[in-house]
């Protein structure tokens, strides 16, 4: 495998939403010429800092996956960075080193990676996922199997290949588009959330953008767990309900199966199509789950913070009809809690002061959190207690998200109860919130992700009674 082949495998295998940091010299120049995109940041100077930049990105945006494409000499130039990464444990970092044992971008002088066991070293300093690859298939597999980081893939490549690539020159412009890409965070569903409410239709697209930028996504481990718990492979058929703008869809596509994703909002469906463009295994359908018809049976039906919006009367029955007898229903919710802090106390006070109709009395952190948990518990119980389903897994993932004076009001503006307040009143409230958060610098929002995997009860009993093989 040469550099060109390795870069092609990497850039076509990693997720469409992953950010890419590439090192000095030919690696950056080849990626710039062939795979330039808003998600790329090139490190044309400051050789060696690629992995430090990767680390900083994962810390600033813990829900975004960051792929670092490094070289052996560049890694050796800033080897201490591997120790820092091992210490900080960014689960969303994948560090790929293209190792040709040379300073290939200069005149192919020998580096010293030939006598160093860089993969062992990565494991010793604390990388959680370490692989070596010396073929295109091996590299592809190593990237696809990556779940929880920090990850390290030592990729052995041969010297040689084209050298006459253009250089990235307009760095300030590359910075601007990268920052836009990077802060335009994971998405959530909008029309499902606000169906029946015409208030947003006028400025829907603007609002959808805001939604993108502030709602946190789902942890990488969640997707790995879904794959394992449902036994998904490239032959699996998946149905996603309420795909929103397709952020979870893109992650699900990486699991390998064929996906039909339904989204009732036409704007969101358009965004989802754009996000999944080029993914052969994804189809986006505009429409409601309630009206969805198919003769296919699915191995998994999945809903990300969406299941509670489906018509109560028909949803379980419809799921059972569409699910293969051995299939899985996968339900995920993000719940937003309050952190016990001075800034939260002031924000809570502002609710009752500025939005007295919606929030007549001031609530304590404990009361609000109990309420959030109670709502989540009701949603879980609805599934767990259903007599036609059998829950085989219930998992929790905890993330603390940081918001500032600009992003926190935007986050609040995605919560239905706040959204229903008249605009004039909402504006004053947001100005006050912005002032409070600005004074404190940051507000931490604890997010609890819940995963439930269940089977058809009949299918589960059949599988129990007919074990494959035996001990």
């Amino acid at each position: 495998m040469n550099r060109q082949e390795a870069i092609e495998v990497i850039m076509t295998t990693i997720g469409a939403q992953d950010a890419v940091v590439s090192t000095t010299g030919l690696i950056s120049r080849e990626i710039f010429e062939k795979f330039d995109s808003e998600r790329n940041i090139y490190v044309p100077g400051s050789m060696g800092l690629t992995s430090s930049i990767g680390l900083g990105l994962t810390m600033a945006q813990p829900t975004k996956r960051v792929v670092v494409i490094d070289g052996d000499a560049s890694l050796l130039m800033n080897l201490g960075s591997a120790v820092t990464i091992g210490n900080k444990q960014p689960t969303n970092l994948l560090h790929i080193v293209l190792d040709n044992e040379s300073y290939a971008s200069c005149s192919e002088e020998r580096s010293m990676s030939n006598t160093a066991k860089l993969d062992s070293l990565a494991g010793e300093v604390g990388y959680q996922y370490v692989r070596t690859a010396d073929s295109q298939d091996g590299l592809k597999r190593a990237i696809m199997e990556f779940g929880r980081g920090p990850g390290f893939i030592l990729t052995k490549i041969e010297l040689g290949g084209r050298r006459d690539f253009r250089r990235p020159l307009e760095l300030a412009a590359i910075k601007s588009r990268f920052m836009l890409f990077f802060t335009r965070q994971n998405t959530r569903r909008l029309t499902m959330m606000f169906k029946g409410k015409t208030i947003f239709n006028a400025s829907f697209d603007v609002f959808a953008e805001t939604y993108h930028s502030v709602r946190p996504g789902y942890p990488a481990q969640l997707y790995a767990d879904i794959k394992e718990l449902c036994g998904l492979d490239s032959a699996s058929r998946l149905l996603e309900i309420g795909a929103g703008s397709g952020i979870a869809t893109v992650e699900l596509a990486k699991l390998g199966g064929k996906i039909v994703a339904i989204e009732p909002g036409s704007h969101l469906a358009t965004i989802a199509r754009k996000q999944t463009k080029g993914l052969q295994n994804v189809g986006i359908l505009e429409g409601t789950f309630e009206s969805f018809e198919s003769s296919d049976r699915f191995d998994a039906i999945l809903a990300f913070t969406a299941y509670h919006w489906i018509d109560e009367g028909i949803k379980h029955r419809k799921v059972l009809d569409l699910l293969d007898d051995a299939g899985s229903l996968v339900l995920v919710w993000n719940s937003f809690f309050l952190s016990d802090s001075a800034v939260t106390a002031e924000v809570n006070k502002a609710y009752s002061e500025y939005l007295p109709d919606a929030y007549p009395s001031e609530s304590s952190v404990a009361e609000v959190n109990e309420g959030v948990l109670a709502k989540l518990h009701r949603r879980e119980q609805e599934v767990v207690q259903n007599s036609l389903l059998y829950t085989v897994a219930l998992r929790k993932y905890y993330t603390a998200c940081n918001y500032n004076a600009e992003t926190y009001p935007k986050l609040l503006n995605t919560f239905p109860k706040v959204v229903e307040v008249p605009e004039e009143q909402r504006k004053k409230f947001f100005a006050r919130i912005s002032e409070i958060v600005g004074r404190h610098g940051t507000i931490v929002v604890p997010v609890l992700t819940t995963l439930i995997v269940c089977k058809k009860k009949s299918g589960f009993l059949h599988a129990i009674a007919n074990p494959k093989g035996g001990k």
């Binding site: 940091v21 400051s46 800092l49 600033a60 820092t84 760095l171 992003t407 404190h440």
Partner: protein, 179 residues
Amino acid sequence: MNQSNKYVFNALAGDRSEKADLLHGVFRKLGVNFASGVPCGVLRHIIKNFEDDAAMLHVIANRESEAVGITAAAYFGGKIPVVYIQNSGLFSASNDIASLLIPYRMPIFFVVSYRGCEGEDAVQHLTTGRATERLLESFGLPFEIFRNQNLENLTRSLFEAMLKAELPTFLLLKRGWHR
């Protein structure tokens, strides 16, 4: 601890600096939420405040270049970062400032301890001490030396200059600045 002043961080430590606490409060007001650097005795109060503040993402780096890379990325990711280093380290990270921060036009605030000035007792600091201001001048980067001016006003105006210029910007602190 004085509960009415939320920016008092070192009140319980024996070695406390009101100036460092004030500076930290100014950073908070300016939205700073990320810090990385390499420790230096002259900056110990500043580093302790970063470390003790739960709202601050803080990475102690192995070398100054690493801190430059990490904070550049923090800025890409929407954070407002500060780098703290000694002026000796300013020289070792100078190419990273020149080849990463300047061409990408990154407004990153540096707090730099200024060794090798009058009264310096360590010979290893003399050459870099003499060259520090000239290095920053030759790079065309904004900087100020703290000489007991109003620290809040000085920091705020430097921060504003930094955002306007979109360039790394430096506050130089000499030994004893914190008293």
